[in-house]
């Protein structure tokens, strides 16, 4: 039942949208309203990819929308081309601009990103306004009624089969085009976010660094996200152009971007229904709020819905009931208030603002988030593994084990301002060994990890992975070359399940493209199935099989650490860097960890282990290097290093002589 729900929902939506013009008595006002909702929904579905999935703020989507709209309008204005070329141009040109927008947006986060997108949107608006030769400037472009299909060929079909006059159907054809494209957009977005692309989007939101270190380039996938999002915005814009039949530059302003953002958040992020609800709200609410009778009806419906919700909550838990009371009372109080007001025009925006505040307070995850809370059946299904684990396929042999030295670090210096975190450190790691890296806090161990994985670019020196120089490469390139890592403070993709976390690590096994994902080709299906089987095997290997469908943030701490190793293993590493894997683990967990590390080495994977638990280090490592104040002070087999006076000094402070006293 729960599995079928999305299909039932989609089916009902499709039927409802198809039948709507007839239900609405062919009233073109209502038809146009739904048409506008469909157009906005396309854009908001795309915006949700950027906002909901990759977690980036965009205040530039009105600009992208404008590019799409003008794409269609300009080719009509100059070349007389109709709807279809318009849509094509709108999608392609806007997609390209999406990539352009992504470039400055790559390195910045938070408010800085908001400003970049805002600046972009504003520049677009100004250029549209000023480039009169192309866009006809502030005067705008007027378009004729859209013609979607040539009715001469089809007239007999409409008349005989549907009993409609061609003229009647002509009025509706554009409506049907819009809702059809909206359904297609839902399908496309759905497929993209459930593919490895969607996983990459979510991963880069939850932890960009871990994402890069899993070989999934944050830059690249941000660009993908912006391009997909922009293409949908362009499609919406082109449709908007032909729907309104008049475009002028002042429409595509900052306020519209804000409105789109509101729609995503009000509707609920990371869902297909959310954008539809959001589109409904931003299109219909202004109309409702300008008509006092409709406001009263709406207030009545809100009060009724609040009572129903209250009833459901009351049945479930008393504690929640107390918390639910204030919003319900507010909802109920809204009705008598509206009955006392006679003119709503002047206070329309105040009501709008209050409603937004209400949503922020009481429905922080939007309407859809709230519905999911009340009706858990609506929660998104995490696809659970349909494939059985295939144990033999866990590790692929990278064929690097022949080299004498797998990793060579040559006199690496890492300088932050005046501080030398690493000072001419040399390391040579033999293949198939476990190499310990120890030292007091602040001695440069983690800095070394970050240098090895490309998060820091060393100030001087070089790093070779079996003859290939890797310093200066990006983290994702280095990950691609076979160095995987875990993090001192766990960097899992919290909102993704355990198996999805591992699947991000398996990203490198996919060859299918975005188009494969959209069209759901056999190639993609096969790759997905293989990856899932392998992910399951890795989880079993790590003893996490039973947690496959649990969101990472909900795992116990010990399991989170294991999951990080599982995710790193998915990368097929020849070298695995573990940064304090035993930190915070209980004794039985540590024993399990030691076992697993041995098993990993047994598969021919070389490990570098940073650890403070000396028994773990001493029990596991073949060689240990000791860092202190950025310098390597000792190296050798564990027993030897343990007794090195310089090491004791570094750990205990003072001189050996003092320690002996």
């Amino acid at each position: 039942m729960a599995r079928a729900l999305p299909f039932i929902g989609a089916g009902l939506l499709a039927i409802g949208l198809f039948a709507f013009p007839f239900l609405a008595g062919q009233n073109s006002y209502y038809i146009h309203l739904v048409q506008m909702m469909a157009i906005y929904a396309i854009l908001i579905l795309g915006l949700d990819i950027v906002v909901g999935y990759t977690g980036q703020v965009s205040l530039g989507h009105a600009g992208l929308f404008g590019i799409g709209a003008y794409g269609a309008a300009v080719i009509f204005h100059h070349f007389g081309m109709g709807v279809w070329p318009g849509l094509l141009v709108g999608v392609i040109v806007t997609g390209i601009f999406g990539a352009v927008l992504a470039v400055p947006a790559l390195r910045v986060i938070g408010p800085y990103l908001a400003m970049v997108t805002l600046a972009f949107g504003t520049i677009i608006q100004i250029v549209i306004n000023e480039w009169t030769g192309l866009t006809n400037g502030p005067l705008g472009v007027t378009l004729p009624p859209p013609r979607v299909v040539d009715f001469a060929d089809w007239r007999s079909f409409w008349q005989s089969t549907l009993g409609l006059k061609a003229a009647e159907f002509q009025r509706l054809e554009f409506y049907y085009l819009c809702v059809l494209l909206m359904l297609v957009a839902i399908l496309v977005v759905n497929r993209v976010v459930r593919s490895q692309y969607g996983r990459a989007f979510e991963a880069l939101r939850d932890s960009p660094i871990a994402c890069d270190c899993m070989g999934v380039s944050v830059y690249r996938y941000k660009v993908y996200a912006f391009v997909v999002s922009a293409a949908l915005a362009g499609l919406a814009g082109a449709l908007f152009s032909w729907s309104e039949r008049y475009v002028s530059p002042n429409t595509y302003n900052f306020e519209l971007s804000i409105l789109f953002l509101l729609a995503v958040i009000l509707g609920g992020r990371k869902s297909r229904a959310g954008p539809l609800i959001g589109a409904f709200i931003i299109v219909y609410l202004p109309n409702v709020l300008s008509d006092i009778e409709l406001v009263r009806i709406m207030a009545g419906m809100i009060a009724a819905a609040a009572l129903v919700a209250l009833g459901i909550i009351a049945l479930r838990s008393r504690e929640k009931l107390v918390r639910a009371l204030p919003p319900v009372i507010l909802c109920l109080a809204f009705l008598p208030l509206t009955l006392n007001v006679n003119n709503v025009t002047d206070y329309r925006l105040t009501i709008f603002g209050l409603m937004i505040l209400f949503v922020v307070f009481y429905l922080p995850d939007g309407v859809m988030g709230f519905l999911r809370e009340v009706f858990p059946v609506l929660k998104p299904r995490h696809v659970t593994a349909a494939q059985p684990a295939v144990a033999s396929a866990i590790f692929a042999d990278r064929g690097l084990a022949d080299a004498k030295t797998l990793l060579r670090v040559e006199s690496v210096v890492m300088q932050f301002g005046g501080l030398k975190a690493l000072d001419s450190v040399k390391l040579a790691i033999a293949p198939g060994t476990i190499h310990g890296l120890i030292g007091p806090n602040g001695s440069g161990k983690s800095t070394m990890m970050n240098v090895l994985t490309g998060i820091y670019r060393p100030t001087a020196g070089a790093v070779y992975l079996s003859q290939h120089r890797i310093d200066g490469l990006t983290p994702s390139e280095i990950a691609g070359k076979g160095i995987a890592r875990t993090f001192q403070n766990v960097q899992l993709f919290g909102e993704m399940t355990a198996i999805e976390n591992v699947l991000v690590g398996l990203h490198h096994t996919f060859r299918s493209t975005l188009m494969d994902a959209v069209l759901r080709t056999p190639r993609r299906a096969r790759e997905e199935a293989e990856a899932r089987a392998r992910a399951m095997a890795i989880l079993d290997f790590m003893g996490l099989g039973q947690f496959a469908g649990t969101e990472a943030r909900n795992l116990p701490y010990g399991k989170q650490r294991m999951l990080e190793i599982a995710r790193a293993l998915a990368l097929d590493p020849s070298l695995l860097l573990l940064d304090e894997p035993a930190a915070g683990l209980s004794a039985p967990d540590i024993a399990e960890l030691v076992e697993i590390i041995r098993k990993i080495r047994g598969h021919g994977i070389t490990l570098i282990l940073i650890e403070h638990h000396m028994d773990v280090v001493m029990g596991l490592c073949d060689t240990v290097s000791v860092l202190d104040f950025g310098q390597k002070i000792a190296e050798g087999p564990p027993a030897k290093v343990q007794n090195d006076p310089r090491v004791i000094e570094a750990y205990l402070g003072g001189t050996v002589a003092e320690a002996a006293e």
Binding site: G137, P138, E244, R245, N250, T251, N287, T345
Partner: protein
């Protein structure tokens, strides 16, 4: 949807009954304008003028024995909202006609719905020359778009003529805002100047809410301009007047009508003195009709001045014209009202002018070039710029000939 509509109808009926004004079904008239945001000062004055006229018509027994009922919608000066409102008014509210549009862009985006639905729409503030030409013959058999404001080419013509012929300037700079109002006006100004054989020495733009006009003014000054022709709305025109004073550049300024807005007068203060603008209406009580209108307006809305007198007056007149047309048509049928407007038999005494056959089949502009006069800012008031206009203020300027 049916349910909502029935409920709406019931509620409307209940409302009508409780207010107890009329038993007859009201005639619904749409009203679309910006009542919030940047250009709402004009929108609200227009709305209040319209309301005042509707109230008076209803007090006098309504039209065809039925009261007029306004359906107000705030288009926020947004084109797409204007288009949506147009469809709501036509298809949901079933209005008989619509008044309004402050912004040329909104008019252009929205009025095609009225044209298609064959419902007359009277623009009472928007001035873009193209507005009444959008559905002109021969492309369209009939045109449902009318206007009671002085369109741009009239205003631009007056401005150019005053600068070139009236005062003999040859070096003229144009400053226009970057919206389509300003840019359409700029085009008309350039055309008007060309007719007089003058090419502007500088053509500059400014944005709504621009704080600083130094760059634009310096460019004009460096180009040697002797006079500024400005197309914009009150606040920004005031910023130009102030910027001019700041630079110590005492250059005459002739603007489009919105420098008569209260905001211009307030913000420009002494710097606004002497600024001239074409006006269809000046707050002046010489004519009894105007005096009555102004007093009623001040009393009803509790103000001592109309924020944007021109918008208020044109809004007021648009109701009277529409009421007369419905009366003459004897029905609320769109085409009949249109036909009546195009051949209005009754002489309608408005506050801008007395309308005798204001429209014809080919001319949908009630204002001709001879009606507007030049107003001038003088110590916080708009006065007649020319002595003879002031002397003749008691004489109604009637429409002469079709010019557009």
């Amino acid at each position: 949807m049916m349910k909502i509509r029935t409920f709406g109808a019931v509620a409307a009926l209940a409302l009508a009954l409780t207010t107890g004004a009329f038993a007859a079904e009201p005639i619904k008239i749409g009203l679309s304008g910006p009542f919030t945001g940047g250009s709402s000062s004009m929108g609200v004055s227009m709305r209040d003028g319209v309301k005042l006229a509707v109230e008076e018509v209803n007090k006098a027994g309504g039209v065809l024995g039925r009261p007029l009922q306004l359906i107000e919608r705030d288009d926020e000066a947004k084109n797409e909202l204007g288009a949506q409102i147009a469809q709501e008014l036509i298809n949901k509210e079933k209005v008989v006609a619509t008044l309004g549009f402050i912004n040329t862009g909104v008019a252009l985006a929205a009025q095609r719905f009225y044209q298609e639905a064959e419902i007359p729409v009277i623009n009472n503030v928007a001035t873009g020359t193209v507005i009444t030409n959008q559905f002109k013959k021969p492309d369209y058999d009939t045109n449902y778009v009318f206007r009671t404001s002085a369109y741009d080419s009239i205003q631009a013509g007056m401005m150019a003529e005053e600068a070139v012929k009236g005062r003999g300037y040859k070096k003229i700079a144009i400053l226009a805002d970057s919206t389509n109002y300003g840019q359409l006006g700029r085009e008309d100004l350039e055309k008007a100047l060309e007719k007089l054989g003058v090419k502007p020495v500088a053509v500059e733009k400014f944005n709504i809410k621009d704080v600083d006009m130094t760059a634009q003014l310096l460019r004009a000054k460096e180009a040697g301009a002797e006079a500024l022709l400005c197309y914009g709305i009150g606040p920004e025109l005031a910023q130009i007047a102030n910027g001019r004073a700041k630079l110590g550049w005492n250059v005459p300024m002739i603007t489009s009508w919105p420098s008569s807005m209260q905001s211009f007068i307030d913000i420009a203060g002494a710097n606004g003195n002497g600024v001239m603008m074409p006006q269809t209406f000046i707050e002046d009580k010489t004519l009894p009709k105007r005096a009555a209108f102004l007093e009623a307006y001040y009393k009803t809305f509790g103000v001592t001045k109309i924020p944007t007198p021109v918008a208020g007056a044109q809004g007021y007149d648009s109701v009277l014209l529409l009421a007369a047309a419905i009366k003459q048509a004897g029905s609320t049928d769109g085409p009949a009202i249109r036909a009546a407007l195009e051949d209005l038999k009754e002489k309608v005494e408005g506050v801008v002018t007395t309308y005798e056959k204001p429209f014809s089949e080919t001319d949908h502009n009630a204002i001709s070039a001879n009606i507007p006069v030049f107003g001038m800012v003088k110590d916080g008031k708009i006065v007649y710029a020319r002595g003879e206009d002031a002397k003749n203020s008691g004489v109604v300027r009637k429409k002469e000939k079709a010019t557009n």
